[in-house]
Amino acid sequence: MVDVAEVIWGLATSHVPSIGAAMDRGKTEAPHWKDLFDGYAPARAWLAEHRPDVAIVVYNDHANGLDLDIVPTFGIGTADRYDVADEGYGPRQVPDVVGHPDLSLHLLESLVDEGFDLTVFQELEVDHGLTVPLSVWTPDPGDAWPCPVVPILVNVIQYPQPTAARCYALGQALGRAIAGYPEDITVGILGTGGMSHQLAGARAGFINPEFDRMWLEKIQTDPAALAGLSREELIRQAGSEGIELIMWLIMRGAMHDEVARIHSHYFVPASNTAAGVALFDNRQGAPA
């Protein structure tokens, strides 16, 4: 260990609300869901052995914490607590999210110095975009999630979204910022959203497993190629909501060029969406 912060793993996962609902209602053994949750098991087992000191969760809000009167391209929470939002049927019965303001402010300062124009959230209610990935990681959190969280928000809903290239560049700057945090702590980073799906329009229900499987592969081996995709190409290939896959590139950019794949799994459909999970070990030279 060095005396600065270190990213030990990256977890990419869909954040479909129905995955959280299936867990909250104890339906994970139901025939339709079993394969999805069985697919999480190896990742969960590894993660339980590798609890970080802080997690950075890259996600988007879905009309719960943010209104449309203000649409930030990138945001970061600096609070010491984030309440779980009521999305219209009562908040999920999961723990509120504890923040890590000191790391948040360090990341903010580094990223703004590097020319990333973040919006600071001193108050923020978090929705399924953030809590479902925490549940994918930790199905039974008890009274508290495994560690404090730094939320990073991305506009994926309103055009113009940040480009895939910009997201990857933000991730790379985030990696440098983490490596400049002068505390000997371990960091897990979650990139959320996707995979292919489209909720509205004549093409609603669109799923593209070839694209998804390509993405699941290249997010490890050639993220720069994914960062070269245009918004239009992403929407064409992954659906109008599948564009949120750009958030995986922020996670990936913060990791080393070479990472070891611990596990991945692909499942169709979770509600109207293809769901994917991919877990990578970022410790250089570490045995997978």
Partner: protein, 143 residues
């Protein structure tokens, strides 16, 4: 975002889509052209701002009750345009999207009605909920 309630603007954004913005859930959208794919761009968001604000208010149980007690009055309170109010009263989900609703906001009304995202998917694609769900279970729609 401000400490006081946001005033209703004196001018309502244009409800007739301007050139280059999506005309319907079945048309291509804006500067991005993907068949069958509405693009929620800046002009669309301007058009739908009051509608989406109202839909977001359904996060609170109090507001859901007030809406149910007087749907048209609640729409008027949020300054919706007549076409938007009509689409809400009629549960015309396609019209809500066409008039600037974001699917994530529109879905909050569907949830109040006990409707699923699969039901909405059926509406957008001219299928029953069961047909739509079956297409997803068989691997999703291609197109």
């Amino acid at each position: 975002m401000t400490a006081t309630a946001t005033p209703i603007p004196t001018t309502i954004p244009p409800l007739t889509p301007t050139e280059g913005t999506p005309m319907s859930t079945n048309e291509t959208g804006g500067r991005l052209t993907v068949p069958g794919t509405p693009i929620f761009d800046g002009q669309t968001s301007r058009r739908g701002l009051r509608l989406n604000k109202m839909l977001m208010s359904f996060r609170s149980a109090d507001n859901r009750e007030r809406f149910s007690a007087d749907e048209a009055g609640y729409c008027a309170e949020f300054g919706l345009a007549p076409e938007q109010t009509q689409a809400v009263l009629d549960r015309d989900w396609t019209a809500m999207i066409d008039l600037g609703g974001s699917i994530f906001y529109v879905y909050k009304l569907a949830m109040m009605d006990g409707r699923s995202m699969q039901y909405l998917g059926g509406v957008f694609t001219g299928m029953t909920e069961e047909e739509f769900a079956a297409e997803l279970k068989s691997g999703g729609r291609r197109g």
